[in-house]
């Protein structure tokens, strides 16, 4: 019998116990995978390549104030700016107030929109149809699938910010690199319906020549409008998104504290199992030592055993976690999680974490076992 088989055999000596421990650890790791994926989506991912090249400009005081449309022309003169497009949040109600009917709606300039959002793909004929219909709208492919929309369908958006209901005809379905949950229509149509929005736009999307230009472009634009009645705040698309995450509260501390509690619970569970299983085998340890196994070998045998159980639990947890994230990423009710998946880095991190938990949890009981006095150990009745 090799040492590896010895470790595996001992790990499953008490099958029920090992399965329960693996189950418990697997559930903890499911949660960790889920939380790590959310963390990654918020703080680590930079989005698509083009996304790192884009900026968003808004009113410095608040998102609820709008900027004059002529800013677009001024921004285009800034060195490093490739294209600019106005975008205005409409915030209309589709069918009713249910969360599953919520999606973002923007009024924009159809001539410019796809020159900034270059990574959104749309067939040329659909783009042309949109540009020639003032009451036309292009929709995200995911949204179209969710609501069963086809090109030529009509949708009605009831205004909540302004007293205006818009009837729009779907002229195109675009495919973004990541789900956007958005629809875009012609700002001229909004201006007709809502006179106060004439020559106003809430935000501007900007495409820079390269990601390296982004900080410089942001600073130049904000300086340009610094002393005007409508000062601006320009930031990268990622930073703009993070502002919304920050609004949810202290999300970092929230996620970290839950993760902390989960990891610690996992530690306790596996330490408990190892302690129970080692205590039962006090006599066996004495036998091993009698046979000539050194303290070091005994120690490493038990630590490996703890790690084997933890890593198996971790692997199952990863599988469940993957399933959980997949389910949420594909459920129509979870707009927020749309398209979220577990990536390789998260998987490796989760398994490494599981192994560490197993290692740490096994250390103390294994050390105690390795110290067992042979004579006393042989006499031990458990």
């Amino acid at each position: 019998m090799t040492l590896t088989t010895f470790v595996t055999k001992s790990a499953f000596r008490n099958k029920r116990r090992s399965i329960l421990t693996i189950g418990s650890l697997a559930l903890m790791l499911t949660l960790l995978t889920f939380l790590m994926t959310i963390w990654r989506a918020f703080y680590i991912d930079n989005g698509s390549e083009q996304s790192t090249q884009r900026l968003i400009t808004r009113h410095k005081v608040s998102l609820t104030f709008s900027l004059p449309i002529y800013y677009e022309q001024k921004m285009k003169t800034v060195p490093g700016v490739a294209a600019v497009v106005p975008t205005q949040w409409f915030g209309g109600r589709y069918i009713d107030d249910k969360p599953e009917h919520f999606f973002a709606q923007f009024a924009t300039d159809p001539q410019e929109f796809f020159t900034v959002y270059t990574d959104f793909k749309i067939p040329a004929d659909q783009l042309d149809a949109w540009q020639h219909d003032r009451a036309g709208v292009v929709v995200d492919n995911g949204l179209a699938k969710k609501f069963g929309w086809k090109v030529g369908d009509r949708i009605v958006l009831q205004g909540t910010i302004w007293a205006a209901d818009l009837t729009l005809t779907i002229r195109g379905i675009y495919t973004p690199p990541q789900p956007t949950q958005s629809v875009y229509f012609d700002r001229k149509y909004l201006e007709e319906a809502v006179s106060v929005m004439k020559d106003q736009s809430g935000t501007f999307g900007i495409l820079a020549d390269s990601p390296a230009d982004v900080p410089k472009v942001a600073a130049t634009i904000d300086d340009m409008f610094h002393n005007s009645p409508q000062p601006t705040k320009t930031e990268s698309e990622k930073a703009f998104g993070l502002d919304f995450v920050a609004m949810l509260g202290n999300v970092k501390a929230f996620i970290l504290s839950i993760c902390g509690a989960v990891v610690f619970t996992g530690l306790l569970v596996s330490a408990n199992t190892m302690a129970m299983s080692i205590r039962e085998r006090t006599r066996e340890v004495a036998v091993l030592k009698t046979l000539g196994f050194t303290r070091k070998t005994v120690l490493s045998l038990f630590v490996c055993e703890g790690m084997v159980v933890a890593v198996i639990g971790g692997a199952f947890g990863l599988l469940f976690g993957y399933g959980l994230v997949y389910m949420m990423g594909h459920s129509p009710q979870m707009g927020f999680f749309q398209g979220l998946t577990v990536n390789w880095a998260t998987m490796v991190a989760a398994l490494a974490l599981a192994a560490t938990v197993g290692l740490v949890a096994a250390l103390v009981p294994s050390y105690n076992a390795s110290k067992v006095n042979i004579v006393e150990g042989l006499r031990y009745i458990g």
Binding site: S62, F65, A261
Partner: protein
């Protein structure tokens, strides 16, 4: 006959290490759940206490929040003269036309900027909200016609430049902070108040109001007043009770609730497995003892009950420790975004008796399911083999 409870308690004491570790595992799960429930309880509290049953909020028809409202100021006198409105200290109808804007303020600890609601109100606005009081020794209310604001206590604590005498910059220039008010945990706890005329000119919104507040003489009159506003064809406005308006906003707790259910459910099952492990070990360790008990005459059901009971005691211990671990955080304030107004809601973690009780029930449920299978196993084991083992 039932096995004495002291038998179980002594057993738990005998295997101290195991008991403590298992109880701690349950405790951590309970702590996490208490944390999430306390967040939700605090958030609910913030919205429930915000509305005053006598106040009627008036918005433009079709708009569902003060931020997305907006109607012509010429409608205000008509509103003010509707029947059923209480009189203010000058004998005038108690009503306030208001503007609400959202501005960005930097957090004191430098962790970024947060949207904060600024409310411009008429002098009656203060009289309309009798529950809101100035913090003693912390200044006075703003003077109408001056660039003065009062800030809530939590804004004072959480944001830079929010002390009496400081200046906050928004709109077209600086505003002097002249007082700090205590909103009693309501949603006003996250607001800055000032004079409506000053504010609307700062934000180029003269000639209109985002909302109006009317105070009814009594609770029944409030309902009539609400309908009078909504039914008046000239106005094209909607009236609603302030309490209803805020009750709708508790949906802001949705993401926390959602995460809470997932975390509670998964960690709960994980802890049940851990408790099962411990109880199986306890049963295996005592199999000869159990057989002896059976020989003496204790029945199978009483052995089953005894072990389930032991598991319940273990989990109760864990539950209590879990709640105690969370107690120091009771009252800690935090913020989240209000999904209706887009601004920050500040609320405190509240470990209410309901929260504590639900946490204990949660722990006991874990203990029950964790103990059931091992207890069943204990009750069913063969006496002879166990005695020989």
């Amino acid at each position: 006959m039932a096995i004495p409870i002291s038998y179980n308690i002594r057993n738990l004491k005998l295997r101290k290490g195991l008991t403590i570790m298992t109880a701690l595992g349950i405790a951590l799960t309970v702590t996490t759940v208490v944390f999430l429930m306390a967040l939700l309880a605090g958030l609910r509290q913030a919205f429930v206490t915000s509305g005053d049953p006598l106040n009627v909020l008036v918005l433009r028809k079709g708009s569902n929040a003060e931020l997305s409202g907006g109607f012509d100021a010429s409608l205000f006198p008509t509103l003010k003269n509707l029947p059923g409105i209480a009189k203010d200290s000058h004998g005038e109808p108690l009503a306030s036309g208001e503007w609400v804007v959202v501005i960005v303020l930097p957090r004191k600890d430098g962790t970024g900027e947060v949207n904060v609601t600024v409310r411009g109100m008429m002098p009656d606005g203060l009289e309309l909200r009798p529950k809101v009081k100035l913090v003693p020794g912390q200044g006075r209310w703003f003077t109408p016609g001056q660039r003065e604001v009062v800030v809530s206590e939590s804004i004072h604590k959480r944001f830079a430049n929010a002390n009496v005498g400081d200046e906050i910059h928004f709109g077209k220039g600086p505003w002097k902070v002249v007082g700090i008010f205590d909103a009693g945990g309501s949603a006003y706890e996250s607001e800055v108040w000032g004079d409506v005329n000053q504010m609307s000119s700062d934000f180029d919104r003269q000639g209109g109001f985002a909302s109006a507040y009317l105070r009814a003489t009594e609770a029944i009159a409030a309902n009539t007043l609400k309908n009078a506003v909504s039914d008046d064809q000239r106005l094209k406005l909607d009236g609603m009770l302030e309490t209803d308006y805020y009750a709708k906003q508790t949906s802001s707790g949705g993401p926390i609730k959602f995460i809470g259910y997932i975390v509670g459910f998964i960690m709960g099952i994980g802890s049940i497995f851990a408790a099962m492990n411990t109880m199986y070990a306890a049963v295996a360790y005592r199999s000869r003892e159990i057989a002896t008990l059976r020989v003496i005459g204790f029945s199978r059901p009483s052995i089953l009950t005894s072990f389930v009971f032991e598991s319940l005691v273990l989990s109760l211990l864990g539950g209590l420790v879990g709640i105690v671990l969370m107690l120091p955080f009771n009252g800690m304030t935090t913020g989240t975004s209000n999904q209706v107004t887009f601004s920050e809601v500040v609320f405190a973690l509240r470990i209410t008796p309901t929260v504590a009780l639900s946490a204990l029930v949660f722990a006991l449920v874990m203990g029950f399911f964790g103990g059931l299978a091992p207890a069943w196993h204990a009750a069913r084991q063969n006496i002879l083999t166990a005695l020989r083992g």
